[in-house]
Structures are given as structure tokens and as C-alpha cells.
């Protein structure tokens, strides 16, 4: 309904032949636009799968980018008559949603997962359809941080602005300037703030402002209440802006939900947090007796949780479990059922 989707189907780039690669993407308008930008100088096919106009990761995790979407576009687009290979290259972030074995059974095509970002596709093709480790990882560059941050902070900002406008009009200008100033600072320097994620970083910032305040009280002879209040305001704002640092990122799990759970807040309105807290506290379990090891988990993990160890014999290990964001792509894709998510 919303004007964010494009008609699914086959798009042709350059002058592909029967051996050209076939890529698949979601039918969110911006996604297609971006993928097309990086494919325009290549010779390949792009199948735009019906995902209700939702982007790849959200659609895959939310049940809108599934094997059915892929089967549908494969069968209706007539791609089978254009190429002799039977391999679809899916975006890596589609891994939590697309049952590749069902695609194989119903449509007869083999699926492999390409790079996370469309911008890596030219290099991926040049490298003989091989992914580098960097191509497997989700990144969170400045522009994306500001984008996500504004989305989360802006409604809160407006709410506080309205409250201040009614009750505390004298602080409006300070609030606006300090609020956005801190917002840009915090999100710009996010990777450099010490602390693992979420409220760990928050605590560091609060302590920093606290030290600043103490310093000010000790050093300044003519102490002003106005400056002190500004310090307190900054502390409050930092808390508001950063309280769910982890929750707005694609790279960390939200720390706020388990915190709420610990405080005894189990639900807000219709939303129950308990299931969510379990996911956050959960971890990936690898059953070595079932592992073959094919390495698909290593190939599709957006966080680099796995490592393939080659000393003696090849085996897969859950090397960095702390990085896991519980997308469960590996659990879903493991052909032997060797992985499970223990909550």
C-alpha cells in the first residue's frame, strides 16, 4: 500500500549471457535503487523478490522475505530459460528468513549468500563469487549512526520540548542546543566511547560529566548555579539519548530490556519483555557431534562470531559469543541442525 515497494520481477543489467550470475533482493524501493546503482556497470540478472516492500534484514527476520518470496520470483520471472546455472545469490542478511532447502525442493535452484552490502558486489564478482571476511560483516558507519539515532531521539526530543514549553520555558534554548549538541557528539564518537555497549558506555559518559562538574566546583571561585544546572541537564540528556544505545544499533543487543526485566518491569502496555530478555541472555550452542563442518555459519554470521580452526582438522568454533546479536541466521541455515539458541 505504501509507495515504498517496486513491482517484483526480473531486472537485467548490461549484456548478461547464459553464464551470468543471478542476484536476488527485496522489493523495498530504496533497496532496489541501491542494488541497481552497484550493478549498473556489470553483466548480470537481478530478481526482485516480493517482500511487501520491506528491506532485506527486517523482511527476513519478520517473515516477509522467505523461501516463498524467492520461489515466486524464480518461477514467474522465467529466469530458468535465460541462464544455464541454477545458483541464486541472495543477500547475506536474508539468511534468517529464506529456507534454502525449500527453494531447492520447490524451484530446483541452489542458493548461496553473497555480501551484506550491495557495494561489495562488483568486487565479489571480480573475486570469482568468493566473499572476504569484511564482506560478511555488518558495519555501522557515521551516517547510519546519525540516521538511526535521529529516528530514536527525535520523538523523545519533541516530547520533552513540549513538556518544557509548558512548564519550564526559560530552559528551552539550552535544552535544544545541549540536546542536539550532545546527540551529535555521542553518535559521532560512539565507537570511541569506552564500554562494551549500551549502558556501559552511558555510565562512562555520566562519570565524565560528573568529573567535569566536580572540577568546575573546585576550580571556579565564582561558582554559578546556572552552570551547575547545565551540568545536571547534560547528565539527564546523556541518559535519555544513550539509554538504549545498544537497542538502536544493528551490532549490539539492547541492554535496556534485561535491565527493565531485572527491575521487575515485565511489560509496557501489550508488550511483554520477558521473551526478549531471554533472547538477550541466550547463547549459541554448537553440537560438535553433528557439525560436518560445512562453514555456512561462518559464511553468514554478520558479526563474526564463528571461527574455522584448521589446526589438524577443519572445525567450526563459537569463538566470539559476546558479539552475537541473536539474529539466528546460523541456527536457521545449519543443514545438520548442529546449532541451537539456548535461552
Amino acid at each position: 500500500m505504501l509507495p515504498l515497494s517496486v513491482e517484483p520481477g526480473l531486472k537485467v543489467f548490461g549484456h548478461p549471457d547464459e553464464k551470468s550470475p543471478v542476484f536476488v533482493t527485496a522489493n523495498f524501493a530504496l533497496t532496489v535503487k541501491r542494488v541497481a546503482k552497484y550493478l549498473k556497470d556489470l553483466d548480470c540478472y537481478l530478481l526482485v523478490a516480493p517482500t511487501h516492500g520491506i528491506n532485506v534484514w527486517c523482511a527476513a527476520k519478520g517473515g516477509n522475505f522467505t523461501a516463498h518470496s524467492v520461489i515466486s520470483v524464480v518461477k514467474t520471472s522465467g529466469i530458468a530459460s535465460k541462464v544455464i546455472n541454477r545458483t541464486l545469490i541472495l543477500p547475506q542478511l536474508a539468511a534468517p528468513g529464506v529456507d534454502t532447502q525449500l527453494v531447492r525442493k520447490e524451484a530446483g535452484w541452489h542458493c548461496k549468500f553473497g555480501p551484506v552490502y550491495a557495494k561489495d558486489i562488483p568486487e565479489y564478482i571480480a573475486g570469482g563469487l568468493k566473499k572476504t571476511d569484511a564482506m560478511c560483516r555488518v558495519k555501522w558507519p557515521l551516517i547510519d549512526r546519525l540516521d538511526a539515532g535521529i529516528g530514536v531521539f527525535f520523538p523523545v526530543f519533541l516530547l520533552i520540548l513540549i513538556i518544557l514549553a509548558i512548564f519550564l520555558r526559560t530552559w528551552l534554548a539550552e535544552f535544544v542546543m545541549l540536546g542536539w549538541g550532545l546527540f551529535f557528539l555521542m553518535y559521532s564518537f560512539y565507537p570511541f566511547i569506552p564500554g562494551r555497549a549500551g549502558w556501559h558506555k552511558l555510565l562512562f559518559l555520566e562519570a565524565l560529566i560528573g568529573v567535569g562538574l566536580l572540577g568546575y566546583i573546585f576550580l571556579e571561585a565564582a561558582e554559578s548555579k546556572y552552570i551547575r544546572d547545565l551540568f545536571f541537564m547534560a547528565m539527564g540528556l546523556v541518559a535519555v539519548i544513550g539509554i538504549d544505545f545498544g537497542g538502536v544499533t544493528p551490532l549490539y543487543k539492547s541492554d535496556l530490556d534485561p535491565l527493565l526485566d531485572k527491575l521487575g518491569i515485565r511489560w509496557i502496555g501489550p508488550v511483554d519483555f520477558t521473551g526478549r530478555s531471554k533472547i538477550i541472555g541466550g547463547k549459541i550452542i554448537l553440537d560438535q557431534t553433528k557439525c560436518t563442518p560445512c562453514g555456512i555459519c561462518y559464511d553468514i554470521c554478520p558479526r563474526g562470531v564463528y571461527e574455522i580452526e584448521k589446526d589438524g582438522h577443519k572445525m567450526v568454533a563459537v569463538k566470539y559469543p559476546g558479539l552475537c546479536v541473536a539474529c539466528e541466521a546460523c541456527v536457521f541455515q545449519c543443514p545438520k541442525g548442529a546449532l541451537s539458541f539456548k535461552t
Partner: protein
């Protein structure tokens, strides 16, 4: 967390689908389902429902004595359908399958059904899918069998279209906020039916032409 709240609300939206769709269609959805079951389904009919959702129409047909096979792509919708069917003791009359419409080629035999019905599904499919599904429907339907499609349609006249939008936009917002359900409108279905080999024998549009019922026969 904000995104999580939204996600959680959307996840449970299947439970509110029935309510949502009825608000959005101003009661037309249930009315047209009763009409389909009442006018076109007979005792003993083997019926296929494409996109059975929460099972409302399948249940109405089963209660009339038909043997219904329904499939839907959403496991959440099917879970609700299963519950509703169990509550009404119709488990042996309604068979459910989780699959997409484009997987019909392997799932059903030629000329296996007397009637095929589908409400508010075709508008969710893009045009290539609609053509494909109609081709498959033609294959699995018996000679002389009927296909009954009901969906949101787009009025032809500009005045009616404007009127429809005026009614629809606020309704859409309310329905979406309450139930995260929405629909799209269907275009060109009549010519697609004819192209697939069907003969359109009955066509009805509701007030403002916003809801359409198409009945076609396999000759």
C-alpha cells in the same frame, strides 16, 4: 526498544486480522464471504481456498457440507485458522497447508476441485503471480468448475475513485493503528481470468465499486 515494541505489535497482528479487515472493508469482507458460501458452495463440493488466512470462509463452506482444502503462506494466520476449525469441530472437513500460491504446481493434481475461491489474496500478489496462480487454478479445477474471487477493486470513474479515497484513507489509518492490517486494490483481474481460459459469468461490485466479486467458469 522502540523498534522492538513496533515489531512485537506487528508480530501479533494475525490475531487482530479478522477485526482489522472487517473495519477496513466496512463489513463487506464478512458479508461477501457469507455470500460466496451461501450462493456458490454446495454439499459435497471439493473446494480449494487460495490464501485461507484465518479460515473464516473455509469454515463457512465446511459448515455447508463442502470438503475444503485451504493454504496460506503465513504460519501465524494458519495457527488461528486451526484453532477456529477445532473449536467448531470441522477438523475432518477442512485441510490446511502452509505454502505459497506459486507452489501450487506440485501440490495439487489436475482437475481435483469443483470450486476454487480466494478473497483478498489476489491484490496481495503482483501481476506475474496473479497470472501464474490463475493458470494453476485452471489446471486444478474440474471442467465446468467455478473460480470465485472477491477483492478490493479500484473504481473506474474519477468521482467514485475520489470518494473511495476519502472514505478509505482515514479508515486505513485507523485500521492500521489498531490492527496492523491493510489491503491493496486489484486491477485487471477480469482480463487475467479471460487470458487464463476462464469465462467470467458473474461480476458484482459493492457500493462505491470498492469491493468486487468475480465468478468465472472453466469451459
Amino acid at each position: 526498544m522502540a523498534s522492538y515494541v513496533f515489531m512485537k505489535v506487528l508480530e501479533s497482528s494475525a490475531q487482530r486480522y479478522d477485526v482489522g479487515i472487517n473495519i477496513l472493508s466496512l463489513g463487506q469482507s464478512n458479508k461477501i464471504k457469507r455470500e460466496i458460501a451461501g450462493n456458490y458452495i454446495a454439499t459435497g463440493d471439493k473446494v480449494l481456498e487460495i490464501g485461507c488466512g484465518t479460515g473464516t470462509l473455509a469454515i463457512l463452506c465446511a459448515e455447508k457440507g463442502a470438503l475444503v482444502t485451504g493454504f496460506d503462506v503465513s504460519p501465524h494466520m494458519l495457527a488461528i485458522a486451526r484453532k477456529k476449525i477445532q473449536e467448531r469441530n470441522l477438523v475432518d472437513r477442512v485441510q490446511l497447508k502452509q505454502m505459497g500460491a506459486i507452489e501450487m504446481d506440485k501440490a495439487f493434481d489436475n482437475e481435483a476441485f469443483d470450486k476454487i475461491m480466494s478473497t483478498l489474496v489476489f491484490s496481495e500478489l503482483y501481476s506475474d503471480e496473479q497470472k501464474y496462480v490463475l493458470g494453476e487454478a485452471y489446471r486444478v479445477l474440474k471442467h465446468g468448475g467455478l473460480i470465485i474471487i472477491a477483492d478490493e477493486t479500484r473504481p473506474n470513474s474519477l468521482v467514485k475513485r475520489t470518494l473511495q479515497l476519502l472514505v478509505r484513507i482515514p479508515l486505513m489509518v485507523i485500521t492500521y493503528v489498531l490492527t496492523q492490517t491493510s489491503t491493496r486494490t486489484l486491477k485487471n483481474i477480469k482480463s487475467f481470468l479471460t487470458d487464463a481460459g476462464f469465462e467470467v459469468i458473474h461480476q458484482k461490485k459493492s457500493l462505491l465499486n470498492s469491493f468486487g466479486l468475480y465468478v468465472a467458469r472453466k469451459g
